[in-house]
């Protein structure tokens, strides 16, 4: 237990890195995922095909393999970043974008058909229908699954610890080496740090879900 208390600054450092990783990747994934999601419902076949291919490939690839690509393979292809934070952010964003895309797409499908029909009836074009009528309404339905995706992202950011980023899990590995006697307490501390993020977020998702269901 003392080990945990002594190393609190290191935990704090790891916690902050985890938060930074999660937030930056979440923002990028949200943008990328929304673009891909609108590709997937667009009338243009090539864009639709591109969106589908992206989602199918990324969803069937393990995150570790994505990390391997950006950390080990990318330097062979000419990308040599100065630290390991950037490749971790790219790997997490690329991976999470596929799930964001799917959530947005099913959100779009959940908006009542009459909405899109009415928009078409008053002469809005496809981009207008999507931007002005359907997407704003779908964002509401999409919020609970999006929160769940970001909870998963928080947990997934732990993989970065295995690829040389000193976030929570990386700190845990480091401390497990330096305090082999207190390993259970040390790792429990890391676990608690994750739960501090994931459990409130889960409650929030549940609350949002009830809210949305109520409004229907």
């Amino acid at each position: 237990m003392d080990a945990v208390m002594d190393e609190l600054p290191l935990y704090w450092e790891g916690f902050r890195t985890t938060l930074a990783l999660t937030l930056v990747s979440a923002a990028i994934a949200l943008v990328l995922g929304t673009i891909l999601g609108s590709f997937r419902v667009s009338p243009v076949p090539t864009l639709r095909g591109f969106g589908t291919a992206y989602v199918e490939i990324v969803r069937n690839t393990p995150l570790t393999l994505v990390f391997i690509f950006f950390v080990f393979v990318a330097p062979q292809l000419g990308w040599t970043p100065s630290d390991f934070f950037a490749p971790a952010v790219v790997a997490l964003s690329v991976y999470t974008a596929a799930f964001v895309c799917e959530a947005i797409r099913s959100g779009i499908n959940s908006v009542g058909q009459g909405q899109a029909e009415a928009a078409r009836a008053i002469g809005l074009t496809f981009p207008q229908t999507l931007r002005l009528i359907v997407l704003p309404q779908s964002f509401r339905t999409v919020i609970p699954p999006l929160i769940n995706i970001f909870i998963a992202l928080t947990k997934n950011s732990s993989v970065a610890g295995g690829f040389f980023v000193a976030e929570l899990f990386g700190v845990g590995e480091q401390l497990a080496n330096s305090h082999p006697g207190d390993i259970i307490a040390v790792l429990l501390g890391v676990g608690v740090c994750y739960l501090v993020i994931t459990i409130p977020a889960g409650l929030l998702a549940g609350y949002a879900e009830r809210k949305v269901a109520f409004a229907r």
Binding site: F72, P144, Y194
Partner: protein, 294 residues
């Protein structure tokens, strides 16, 4: 699909769609071309680099290379996934049954345990098992996957039971079945069938998560890719990555297709048979795709 978003195209729209199609196609082609050129400038397409798969250097045979990936590597991945899936499904069922109990004293601890393990990263659980509990890496991977996924499976099964119409359990009680009989012969069979797609997609997640064993040095597929590049040289990383990714995608894609097939079959049966009435608004809780499958 969501064709309701746009009209059946007239001649002008069709021309415009075609134009955008070409623009989109050029955009995709440009991306592919950039990727190709970048790879080409690094000499990744040289035949010599790919020869590692049929005539490897350093006195190895092609059979050694493929055996290390497909039999030793993929074998270890599938073995860990298989054992973990069996344990997680069994434990998930037990947890779900306990969580449906009427006694709060029994229900509460199980709910806490489920919430606890659901909020932790799988790789942390694996690391804990190997370095705190001292398990061998195989069982470390199985431990992490089984503990985490049993919590998820329990939640999926519970969501399935909750989504059933109330009349099912009322009718069961009315004909004099006990709580356990109702649960096991009336509710669970329906819940499992209803949740089959979610269960299969969670199995895909489980299979993907075996790759976290890479981080705790369990010699699964990705570890074997790395060992190969350490043996033949870092310059072969791209080649081994491509083959490894292809293997993973092929295996997972097959499983995902199975999920889609089961979903289709499930909806057909439900439409022709029992209780389509009480589809909950939030759709499926346990992950996977929400929204109407057309």
């Amino acid at each position: 699909m969501s064709s309701v978003l746009y009209d059946v195209a007239g001649p002008r729209t069709r021309r415009r769609t075609l134009a955008w199609s070409i623009v989109g196609g050029l955009f995709v082609l440009a991306l592919l071309f950039l990727a190709y050129r970048q790879l080409d400038s690094r000499g990744q397409w040289e035949a010599e680099r790919w020869q590692v798969f049929w005539e490897p250097p350093l006195g190895q045979s092609a059979e050694d290379v493929w055996r290390s990936m497909l039999i030793t590597g993929l074998g270890a991945t599938l073995r860990a996934a298989g054992v973990a899936a069996v344990i997680a499904l069994t434990a998930g069922l037990v947890l779900a049954v306990i969580r449906m109990s009427t006694s709060r004293l029994v229900r509460w601890p199980v709910t806490t345990v489920i919430e606890f393990f659901r909020g932790l990263p799988v790789v942390l659980l694996m690391f804990f098992a190997v370095f705190a509990l001292g398990l061998p890496t195989f069982w470390g991977v199985v431990f992490g996957l089984a503990v985490y996924n049993s919590a998820i499976f329990a939640e999926i099964l519970r969501a399935g039971i909750v989504s059933l119409p109330k009349g099912q359990s009322e009718a069961a009680y009315a004909v004099g079945l006990s709580r356990m009989q109702t649960l096991f012969s009336i509710l669970l069979p329906q819940a499992v069938r209803r949740m089959l797609p979610s269960l299969v997609s969670q199995l895909v997640v489980l299979l993907k998560d075996t790759s976290l064993g890479f981080i705790i040095a369990y010699p699964e597929l990705l570890r074997h890719l790395q060992t190969n590049t350490q043996f033949f040289g870092q310059r072969y990383w791209f080649q081994f990555f491509v083959v490894g990714a292809a293997i993973y995608i092929a295996v997972n894609f097959t499983l995902s297709r199975l999920a889609v097939y089961l979903e289709r079959r499930g909806t057909k049966k439900a439409a022709g048979g029992v209780a389509k009435a009480a589809e909950p608004v939030g759709g499926k809780v346990g992950g996977g795709e929400a929204g109407p499958a057309v």
